[in-house]
Amino acid sequence: MKQWNSVTGKYGEDVAVEMLKTKGYAILERNWRNKFGEIDIIAKKDGILVFVEVKTKIGELFGLPEEMAGKGKLQKVRNMATVYLNGKETPCRIDVVAVVLSENGQVTRLTHYENVY
């Protein structure tokens, strides 16, 4: 059901944030948005600014979460990142976190892809 997608997505983002924290990332922003779009997580580690796109799917039967973060989506994240940086020159990259949940909400897979763009 479409109305549950946002709930799933929110849960997936929570899972991703927890993972990033344990990896030693400092979370700067969550759901940073303006009228053009949204960046799920903005984090920082070792002086590198990281823009994270989180994709969550329940089961892999209808496609992988990785497939849902295609060229277009990543371009959008990139554009948003440019807006966020507002001309500042700082080392940064774009990451994708793929979250796969089981029917009852257990995390079955959690993959972090670094520097995908």
């Binding site: 992988l64 990785e66 497939e67 994708v96 892809y113 995908v116």
Partner: protein
């Protein structure tokens, strides 16, 4: 993991080996990219390969897959890289241990995949086979539906019905049977002609000319009012053409293989081509072309006949473009993608009416065309084209009593079978004559060959000289006439060209 699979690309009729390098990276965001100057059709292989792998019961690895088609500067077109890419992915993702695939350096993969994993007929398999023949120990894996093309080449060819069956072959569950080698000699067969010469009423001179044209490969022009049998004579021509030799059959089949015109399951073009394009044909359709240059009608008629019915109706640009191939026997097509050369050694057979209404010079009917119309009509075929045509024959109106006679069986009329025997024996003489050269017929002789093979007696030379002076023949016509005389002498089984042969050749020359 990185794997290298071998395949080939065809640029015109040249075959270039292509290494399909497939890398399935252990790290990195999943994706599937193909690099190496891939055209749209090759780029779309991503979707076909992905779906075909899944539908064949394997996993498509959710990893970063990079395919490189090396060398990177040669443009790749067509769907033939589907199979090598799919096999490469299966090996690189370790779903297929590399040891089971015996020898990747000697194995060539070629073919288009459909979404369910079956292999579709793919153009150019014969060219791949001819290329692979030069590499000792090579094996071919090609679509089952196109595999017969390669059966005339003596190397192991495995016809692959589906991707799944190919994998079964490699893991040795159910090996594929290699195709048995089919010697070309056995493939060449003879079919009965569509029209028999004996069915055509009268026109003895035209029949004689058509036999000469078939024997020596000379260009011929038929000239006459509508309904006198020009088209029928042309249709009868394939029936008297000599069978293709092994070498010729391979040459012709290569062109049809690259054009994708071989009927599915056929291994070889066994009949001399007879191409009769409609007069609406464009220059590109006739000569060949396109952004990835393909052979045109002149190349498809290679070693056979190109019949232009109603020749003046063809676009002038198309007709004029015939000049180079008529002279050189090849066409060179230059496009942005590169330049290719296709063989185009054909016999031109043209049929024209004397005027737009068709009845100029008719013994009974009156022509209604104005002088201007007639001149305009004649001008549609330029002098240089007419100069390249050796045999000009008038196909005149047949008298009614002759027509009725032909409907009852006329025992005197020459049949296609008899004509063919004549033609075959004349060709045999030519084959023997040209064993050391690269040509097959008298019409293909270059000037130095004419000097060598066509010795004229002083008397013959005198006749020719006299005629040339009287009618102002061009230098080309002069040489061409000697070639026709050579063919007539061959039909007569004479070693030397006698005055009678020259005289006959002269009467087929245009005298206007």
């Amino acid at each position: 993991m990185l794997t290298k699979i071998r395949s080939t690309a065809n640029i015109g009729l040249t075959t270039i080996p292509i290494d399909v390098e497939v890398d399935v990276a252990t790290a990195g965001f999943p994706g599937f990219t193909i690099v190496g100057l891939a055209s749209k059709a090759v780029d779309e292989a991503r979707e076909r390969v992905k779906t075909a792998i899944i539908n064949s019961g394997f996993d498509f690895p959710p990893k970063k897959i990079t395919v490189n088609l090396a060398p990177a500067d040669i443009p790749k077109d067509g769907a033939a890289y589907d199979l090598p890419i799919a096999v490469g992915i299966l090996i690189a993702s370790e779903q297929l241990p590399e040891e089971t695939v015996f020898d990747l350096k000697k194995q060539f993969f070629y073919g288009e995949l459909s979404l369910d994993g079956t292999l579709r007929p793919t153009r150019g398999v014969l060219l791949l086979a001819l290329f692979a023949k030069n590499i000792t120990g090579s094996q071919l894996f090609v679509p089952e539906t196109s595999a017969n093309e390669a059966s005339v080449v003596d190397i192991p060819v495995y016809p692959v019905p589906t991707l799944h069956r190919l994998i079964q072959h490699f893991i040795q569950i159910k090996p594929l049977d290699p195709l048995s080698y089919l010697p070309i000699k056995d493939a060449l067969d003879m079919e009965p002609p569509e029209f028999d010469l004996a069915e055509i009423a009268g026109q003895e001179q035209a029949k004689r000319a058509i036999i000469i044209a078939a024997s020596g490969g000379h260009n011929m022009l038929m000239f006459g009012p509508p309904g006198t049998g020009k088209t029928m004579l042309a249709r009868a021509l394939p029936g008297i053409l000599p069978p293709l030799t092994e070498q010729e059959a391979l040459e012709v089949t290569r062109i049809y293989s690259i054009s994708g015109l071989l009927p599915p399951g056929a291994s070889l073009i066994t009949k001399r081509p007879f191409r009769a394009p409609h007069h609406g044909v464009s220059t590109v359709g006739l000569i060949g072309g396109g952004s990835n240059p393909m052979p045109g009608e002149v190349s498809l008629a290679h070693l056979g006949v190109l019949f232009l019915d109603e020749t003046p109706e063809f676009p002038r640009s198309a007709l004029e473009s015939l000049r180079q191939p008529m002279e050189d026997g090849t066409v060179e097509i230059v496009r942005a993608a590169g330049h290719v050369r296709y063989p185009a050694s054909f016999t031109l057979l043209a049929a024209i009416n004397p005027c737009p209404c068709g009845y100029l010079g008719h013994p009974k009917r009156e022509c209604i065309c104005s002088q201007r119309q007639i001149v305009k009509y004649r001008h549609r075929i330029s002098g240089p084209i007419l100069d390249r045509i050796d045999l000009h024959v008038s196909v005149s109106v047949i008298a009614v009593d002759k027509l009725s006679q032909s409907l009852k069986n006329n025992p005197n009329a020459i049949t296609s079978k008899q004509a063919k025997t004549l033609v075959v024996s004349a060709r045999a003489i030519q084959t023997k004559r040209f064993t050391e050269t690269k040509i097959y017929t008298n019409s293909q002789m270059k000037n130095k060959d004419v000097k060598r093979f066509c010795v004229l007696s002083p008397e013959s030379e005198n006749i020719l000289k006299l005629a040339s002076e009287t009618y102002n023949f061009s230098a080309r016509s002069y040489i061409r006439m000697i070639k026709v005389a050579r063919t007539i002498a061959d039909l007569d089984r004479k070693k030397d060209i006698l005055p009678t042969h020259i005289a006959e050749a002269l009467q087929y020359k245009q005298m206007v």
